[in-house]
Amino acid sequence: MPPLVLFALQLLTLALLLAVLYRPLGDYMATVYSSTRHLRVEKVIYRLTGVNQDAEQTWPIYFRSVLAFSAVGILAVYGLQRLQAFLPFALGLPAVSEQLSFNTAISFVTNTNWQSYSPEATMGYSVQLLGLAVQNFLSAAVGIAVAVALVRGLARAASPTLGNFWVDLVRGSLRILLPFAAVAAIVLLAGGVIQNFAGFQDVGTLAGGTQSIPGGPVASQEAIKLLGTNGGGFFNANSAHPFENPTAWVNLVEVLLMLAIPFALPRTFGRMVGDNRQGYAILAAMGTFFVLSVSLLSALELGGRGTAPVLAGGAMEGKEQRFGELGSALFGTTSTLTSTGAVNSMHDSYTALGGGTTMLNMMLGELAPGGVGSGLYGMLVIAILAVFIAGLMVGRTPEYLGKKLGAREIKLASLYILTTPTLVLVGTALSFGIPVIRESVIGTSILNPGLHGFSEVLYAFTSAANNNGSAFAGLTANTPWFNTALGVAMLLGRLLPILFVLALAGSLAAQEKVPVTAGTLPTHRPLFVGLLCGTVVIVSALTYFPVLALGPLAEGLL
C-alpha cells in the first residue's frame, strides 16, 4: 500500500476513535466534576488531608490552593532529586545538581516536562516513580481543574464560588487519569512497551561488542506521559525509543492518548454550560487547526528539499524508519499542538519550515486541542476575545454564554494573551542581547551555528513558556542560563495564565446571565468557528511572525 493511503487510513482511524470517545468521555468528565457524591477512597483522602470536601471556594482561594499545591509539588520533586543518593532503586545515581533539580521540579509540576538531562543517566527509578510519575498525574489534574473552574464560571449565575480545587484535583486524578492510564498501560504493554525493574543489562551484540540496555517501569509512565499531555520520556530518546514506542500502531495509540482528553473536554464544557453545540464549536476550531497543521507538516516533510534529503530519498534524518515521515509528522504535530512535548523524531532535524511548523503549533497558544485542561481554557479565553471584537459588530455589549464581557473580563483575557509571547520573546532576546549570556548560548548551547541555532533557542523558550516540553534537541540546555531562564519561563507560563483564568472565572461566575434573544451573537455556528480561528491566527500567531522570519522562515526560504 502506498504510504499516503496508509497514512490517510491512520488519520481516519484516529478521527473515528476520537469521535467515538468524544461523547462518552466528555459526558463522563462532566459528571465527575458535577457530581455531589464522594467515593469512599476520596473521603479517606479528604479526612487525612483535612479538606472540607463540601466547601466551595471563591476564585482567590481556588488560586491559592493551586499555588500552594504547586509549591509543595516543586519542593517535593526538588527534594527527591537532591536526595537521590539516599533513595532505594536509584540505580546508584548521585544527587541531581541544584539548578537542574530546580528546572526539572518546575518542569514536571507545570505539566511541561522539559528535560535538560538524559533520564537514564540522571534519574533512578525512585525519582522517576515518586517524583516525576506522580506529578504527571497531578499536574494534569490541576490543568483540568482550572479549565473546569472556568467552565463553571460561564455556567453559573450570580455565584461567588467556583467549586473546590482539592475535590477537583482528587477526582481528576482518581476517577479520570488513574483508571484510563491503567487501561492505556496495558494496551501499551500488549504493544511491546517494557515494564520491569531490571536496571541496566549488558548484552553481547552481534558484532561482538557489549551494550548496556536499560530497563524500567516504562509502560506505566508512558501511559500517563501521553494521557496527561506531559511528555517527559523515561528515556532520553523519548517516544523514538523502541522500548517506549515500539511499532507504528503503538505510535497511533500514543497519538490517540495525547488527543483523547483535550479533544473530549469541549464536550464536557458543552455539557456543563447546558448547550452541547457550544462544545462542538470549540471542537471544530480545535479540529480545524489540527487538520491544517498535520497536513502542512506532512507536506513539508514529504517535500523536504535540500541535499541530504534528496540523496537519502527522503527527509529521514532524526526520524525512525518504523514511523517514516508521515508517522513522525503526525506525532510531532500532536505533541506540539497539545502541551505534551513527547517526540518520536527529532524536531531539530525536520526541514527548516517543518521545524518552524512545530514551533508555530506551540505559538498558537497550545489550544488546538492543547494540553489537558489548558487547551480548553486557552481556547475559551480566545473565544472571549473573539466575541468581544466581533460582538460589538452586532450592536450589543458583547456577551459569551450570557455573560457580559466588560472591562474586567477583557483586562484579564488581555493579560492572558500577553503573558506567553512576552516570556518567549523576552527570553529569546535576552539570550542574545546580554553579552555574557550570548557568549554561553552561542559557545556552549547552540549545536548548529547560524539561523538554525537561533531556532534552537527560540524553540526552547517557546516550548517552556507554553509548557510544552519538547525541544530542538541540538540545544544543550543544561547550563545555568537555560536551566534558570527556562525554569522561570515554565513557572510564569503556567501560573500567570492560571491566575488570569481563575480571576476571569470568578468575575464571570459572579454575573447574572443575560437571556438569549435574536439580538445575541450566536457562538455555535460555523461563522463563529471561522471567527475564532481568525482570532487565534491574528492574536497569537501573527505576534511571532517577525521571529519566525528570523529563524525557520529565513532558513527555509533561503
Binding site: G406, A407, I410, L451, A518, L531, A554
Partner: protein, 718 residues
Amino acid sequence: MSTTTEERTESSVHRHKDTAAPFGPRQLLAALPVALRKLHPRQMWRNPVMFIVEVGAALTTLIAITEPLSGGPVESGGTAMPSAFTVSIAVWLWLTVLFANLAEAVAEGRGKAQAESLRATRTSTIAHRVPHYDETADPGALVATSEAIASADLHLGDVVVVTAGELIPGDGDIVWGIASVDESAITGESAPVVRESGGDRSAVTGGTRVLSDRIVVRITSKPGETFVDRMIRLVEGASRQKTPNEIALNILLATLSIVFVVVVLTIGPMAGYSDAAPSVPVLIALLVCLIPTTIGALLSAIGIAGMDRLVQRNVLALSGRAVEAAGDVTTLLLDKTGTITYGNRQAAEFIPVGGAGEAELVAAAHAASLADPTPEGSSIVLLAERLDPTLTRVQQASGAVVPFTAQTRMSGIDYADGAMLRKGAGSMVAAWAAESGALAADTEGELRAAVERVSEAGGTPLVVAERRADGQSRVLGVIYLKDVVKTGLVERFAELRRMGIRTVMITGDNPLTAKAIAAEAGVDDFLAEATPEDKMALIKREQAGGNLVAMTGDGTNDAPALAQADVGVAMNTGTSAAKEAGNMVDLDSDPTKLIDIVRIGKQLLITRGSLTTFSIANDVAKYFAIIPAMFAGAFPGLEVLNLMGLSSPASAILSAVIFNAIIIVILIPLALRGVRYRAASASQILRRNLIIYGLGGVIAPFIGIKLVDLVVSLLPGF
C-alpha cells in the same frame, strides 16, 4: 392629530439635515487648528495607541535631524536606506497622529455649531423676582411686588413672574397660570407649546419665550447648571466620559499595543545574532503599522459622532453610557396612549339595540355629541354625518347641554320639551335609562353583547339612550369608539423582534381591551390596568431576568420608573422631576423615538466593532509588506513573502506607513456617519460586517499598500 405628529417629526428631520452638513475638505481645514493643539502630549496621553505613535514620530524626527551628521540613514537589516527615508517616515508618522486628532476635532466641531446657537439663548435677561411670594393668599402674585434682577443672579427656589413677550429667565416649574411658549430655541420646533401649572406640562426651560398670558415660575436649577448649560456641555463633548464598552475596548487596544512593543523591542537583539538588526526608524515604522492605530485614531470620534446623531434627532443623552445601554436594550416599555395609538379614540361604528333603527341611533348620537368638544365627540359627529348626510348642526340651539362629569360619566342634551339624550359609560347610561322602568330582558342582553363585543375588540363602548317627553326611556345602541393604532407600527415592532427586542405595552385599560390592542399593534406583551407601581415592578422583574429595559415617560409619577430603567427617555414637555430622573430627554416629546434611540445605540457599537475588526485585520497585509522588507538584505529568501511585489524595502516600509495614515482619513466619514445598520438577526449582521470589515480588512491593505508603493517607487532612491 395623526398628521401633526408626523409633520413634526418631518420638520425636525428637515431642519437637522441643514445643520448636519456633509463631511468634506472644508470641515477638515476648519478642524486643523484644533487638531494641532491636540498634539500636546498631555492630551495625547489619554489615547495610549496614538501616544505611542507620537513618541515614535518624535524619536524618528530626532534621528532624521541627527543622522545627516553621521552620514545619512544607517543600514537596516543589511539594506542601505535612501537618504530621504527617515525624514519621510517621520513626516508620515506626524501625519498619522494629526489625522487622528483631526478625526476627533471634526466630530467635536459638529457639536460646536449647535452649542453656539444654544449659547445665544443663555444671554442674560431681566427676571422679575417676587421676593415675598405667598402661595396661598396670592398664588398669581398679582398683589405682591416684584423686583427686576439679572437672570444670572437667580437662585434655586426663587419665584419669578413672566409675561407675554418675555424670555423665561431660568429652568423652572409653573406654579400658577397657563401660557403658550415658543421653545424653538431649544427644540427647533416653531409651533408654540402650552405650559400650565400643575400636572405633567408644568416645566419650562430658561431661554424660551412666553408668547401669551402670564405665568409664575419657581426656579428649579442653579445658574450655570440649567438644562441649556448641560446641553451645551454635552454637544461640545466637554463632559464626555468613556463608556464601559469604550473602556474595555481601550484595554484590548492597549494590550495589543504592548504586545507589539514587546515584539519590536526584542527584534533588535534577536536579529543582531544574524547581523540583520533593523534600524530604529524601521522598527518604529513596524510598530506603528502593527498597533491598532486605525481604531485608536477613530475611537473617540465614533463616540462623539454617536452622541451627535442623537442630538440631530433632538434627543439629549445625559451620558454616553446611556447611548451604549440603548444598543443593549432587550425590553422596550411603551405607553399605549400617544406611543402605540393616537392619543384619542375615534368613532368607528354604531350598533343599534332593542329594536331601534340605525338611523335613529345615528341621529341621537349626533345630537348628543354636537356640544361635546373632545376629539371623541367630534369624531362621532363626523361619522354620523358621513352615514347620514341630511343631519345638520342646528339642533344644538334647541336644547341645554349636559356636560360630562366624573360622577355621572355621561353627557348629553336636555330639550325644552323634556326629552333628553344621553351617551356615556355603559353601566351609567343603562342605569339612567332604567330609572323610568327596567329595560326589557332581550334589550339588556343585546346591549351587554354589543358592549362586550366592542370591549373585546379593544374599543371603548359608549351607550346612547333617550328619554322621551313622556318620561319613557329606552336604550338606542352603542357607539364603538376605536383606539387607532398608529400606522407603520406593526412593521416597526416586527423589526424590533428581529433585533431581539421584546416590546411591552403599558396601559390603564382593562386586560380585555389591552389584549386586543396589543394584538393589533403586534407588541409581544402588555401590562393592563397599570399603576406606576406595577410599571416599576415590571421593570425590576425584567432586570432581574438579565434584561435591559428602556421606557419613556413624562409625568412626575413616572420618575421612579425612569430612574430605574436602564434607558429612561423623558419627554421635554414633561415635569422637571421626570427630566431629572431619565437619562435622556427627547426635545420633540415623541415617544416612538425610543425605537430610533435603540437603533443609534446599536449603530454606535457596530461602528466601533467594525472598525476594530478592520484595524486588526489590516495587520496581516502590513506584516507581509514590512517583514520581508526589514530583513531583505540579510535573508534574500524572504522575498517569497513579498506577496505584493513591492518595489524596494524602503518603499515597502514607507508605503505601509503611508497607507496606515491615509486609511484614517478615508474612514473619518464612516466613523462620523456610522456603519449602516439594518434591523436583522445578530447572525445576519455579523456575517455582513465580518465579510465587509473582517475580510475587507484583510484584503484592502494589500491593494492599498501596493497602490501607494507604485507612487512611492517613483521617488528617487526608493
